[in-house]
Symmetry: C2
Subunit: 422 residues, 2 copies
């Protein structure tokens, strides 16, 4: 299941990207024209073109122009407009979200459906297949999805994931939105096995909150940001880091666990096993519990939002304190990591300025003065499909064509002799 | 001054690295043998070989074996054992450190010399030239340094540096070991201009504390670590992050500022303009002041270390509290970033277990339980030349041969026609 990572397979991938880049830049080209422009030997180039055509990424066409001189008309190569479409699926705790993009990386469709938290993986995958099927019927200006052109599927799951190619997590034992789970890169996640059977393409996996960070950094509130910190205030408190434009995983797949940073030493017990974690102060349950303990009335976040909008002083005071705690944590992380954008997502972000303003104040007060005007605090814009879009980003970043060379052919051992050096 | 960064110059660099990698793996090879193994066209390969020979990275030799058949003996190509040597220089506040490595990345020499904090840049550079000169006379088993083979020089300076190619900082206005300074990538640092004049090679620049992090991750306490957090407890408190094997800079060159994370809201005023920063608790001055305020006697760190070793209970209690604060900050950063190794450097690390043990306890208590046994806390091993070695690492990571292609020739516009496609 492991992807080739050696320098030579990377080189081969680089060659493929060069060829694809030339076709993107110049439009249809003949093999000869491609050869002139790419600097590769004829053997290497033809080999790569054969693979690209076989995979459907590139299609051949007979040139429309009148052939000059004798012989058959020149065959040209061009990008397949239907190829390179990617699907992302977010297997959240109680809902499934899917999204799809075309070759131009435009979002061509998305869909969501809630389900019980204990729905077995087999049924979740069936639901995913149904939702993906509903997208293939969706015709938009950006073009419909054709499953035959899929390169890979990017999948988000709850829990700890060490590498995108493999990981496992049992949602029944996972605690908190992004805590818990087990990481054994040798064992594929059940959802990877099931999806691979159904779609016949590689399935890349990561934590869904981290993927939401990646999604927001490409299509959402931090679009174009190279260094982004994403904090999600939901049933759990978690997040993700985009570093230099790539998702940061950390040495053991344990990064972005902002919810488990201690903010109240000796404070309330947290599901992670620690005490006084940010999650014990800033999760949906923590905030609703504190609101009710202070005499407020709200059964869920929409009711809390209603109270906030009505100017309920108990709610405003509470969120002021919660925001201050969040801002202090964000300031510490800014000093350490130096993001240009901080994105706040999750249901609690719906409370708006009542939470955002105290966060911003505390961030301003505790970040190094020299950084104060360099970091921008924004509310997430992708909503519940952020994780599914992040799954697509994972595919675009980490898979492209790499997966087609399963054993990573070492070019130095290539049995095909190079014609011009014989 | 800017380096080429486009995909095509990256591809060319990839081709060069492929050629160098084949010579490293197989030893001397003829042009024909190289051609067979690299998959590049003859034009591209010969072009790259000509550059490599001209730069001194590769040398030609006549094969020792008897030529088969007629014609002149085959010429072979081999890596130049004297080439690729790199120099690192750390322009610290009150001392200069230099180090050099050979092609095999073995450290062939290092030297240090203290100076006044207000020594002008011109005189610092003269001192650097003298120290580097002293290394070229040093003959060790790993081979002496030949300046003619230099690819680039990696330089550490105090203050904020945004990108390794340029940056500026006025030591007279810099505050704290890694705070202050200005970052304008368009303006080269004076030391870059002066060193380039003296050595005639590109000069890469970064913050010296961040470079120490990189040095420790390659040659020091975290050798081989891909995700490393380095904390330096000195006159200032700073650090650096190595993420996926590369130095992390942050969006504005402001990363690793661990010393300016708030640990005592409303606490002592910090040089950075904030209050209650870790630096106000854990810098050399803060610790010595607190020790004297508690009735202890120590004019400097060596005297503090002596008190600690004598079992002075005032010193032990003080360091216990300081270590707890440091450990709490490290735990928060571990949850967010997920390093595999934390390295503690700087003079205060000399206090040994009296500080390391409370750090480790607080780290254990506040990091997510699932991460507790995954992160290793270690004392820095490179001492005062860590920054200079990090400068070398910067050259090896970011410059190699890239700097020889100043305009980044776009291969698509290459005027040299490719023979086999004509």
């Amino acid at each position: 299941m492991s992807q080739p990572r050696g320098p030579l397979s990377q080189l081969r991938r680089g060659h493929e990207e060069l060829v694809l880049g030339l076709l993107r830049k110049h439009g249809p080209l003949s093999r000869g024209e491609l050869g002139k422009r790419c600097g590769l030997s004829r053997t290497t180039l033809y080999d790569i073109l054969a693979e690209l055509v076989a995979s459907g990424a590139v299609v051949t066409a007979t040139s429309q122009e009148a052939p000059r001189g004798r012989g058959r008309p020149a065959e040209t190569l061009t990008l397949n407009p239907d190829a390179g479409q990617a699907i992302g699926i977010d297997f959240a705790r109680r809902a499934l979200h899917v999204a799809a993009v075309n070759l131009a990386h435009e979002v061509v469709g998305s869909a969501s459906e809630p389900h019980d938290a204990d729905l077995p993986w087999e049924e979740r995958v069936e639901l995913a297949v149904r939702l993906v099927g509903s997208l293939t019927g969706t015709r938009t200006g950006a073009g419909a999805l054709r499953l035959g052109a899929l390169d890979a599927i990017g999948v988000g799951v709850v829990g700890v994931v060490g590498s995108p190619e493999a990981g496992r997590d049992d949602p029944a034992t996972a605690q908190g939105d992004s805590a818990g789970g087990q990481d054994d890169p040798a064992v594929p996640h059940p959802v990877q096995v099931l999806l691979r059977e159904r779609f016949g393409v590689p399935v890349l996996l990561d934590n869904n909150t981290r993927l939401a960070a990646l999604g927001e950094s490409i299509w959402g509130a931090a679009a174009g940001g190279q260094d982004v910190l994403y904090l999600r205030l939901s049933h759990g408190v978690g997040g993700g880091l985009v570093v230099g434009g790539s998702l940061h995983r950390g040495a053991y797949g344990l990064s972005g666990e902002f919810g488990h940073i201690t903010v109240e030493p000796g404070g309330a017990r947290c599901d992670c096993g620690g005490t006084g974690c940010l999650e014990t102060v800033a999760s949906i349950r923590a905030v609703l519990d504190a609101f009710r303990a202070a005499g407020g009335r709200a059964a869920d976040v929409p009711e809390l939002v209603k109270a906030v909008r009505a100017g309920d002083s108990t709610a405003l005071t509470l969120l002021d304190g919660v925001g201050a705690r969040i801002g202090e944590v964000l300031a510490a992380l800014c000093n350490a990591i130096g993001p240009s954008v901080i994105v706040i997502g999750g249901e609690l972000a719906e409370t708006g300025p009542a939470l955002a303003e105290p966060i911003e104040r505390a961030l301003h007060d505790h970040v190094m003065p020299v950084s104060r005007h360099r970091v921008s605090l924004r509310r997430a814009t992708l909503g519940e499909v952020a994780g599914a879009l992040g799954g697509i980003a994972l595919v675009l970043h980490e898979s492209p064509l790499l997966s087609r060379y399963p054993a990573g052919p070492d070019l130095a051992e290539d049995p095909i002799p190079d014609k011009e050096s014989r």
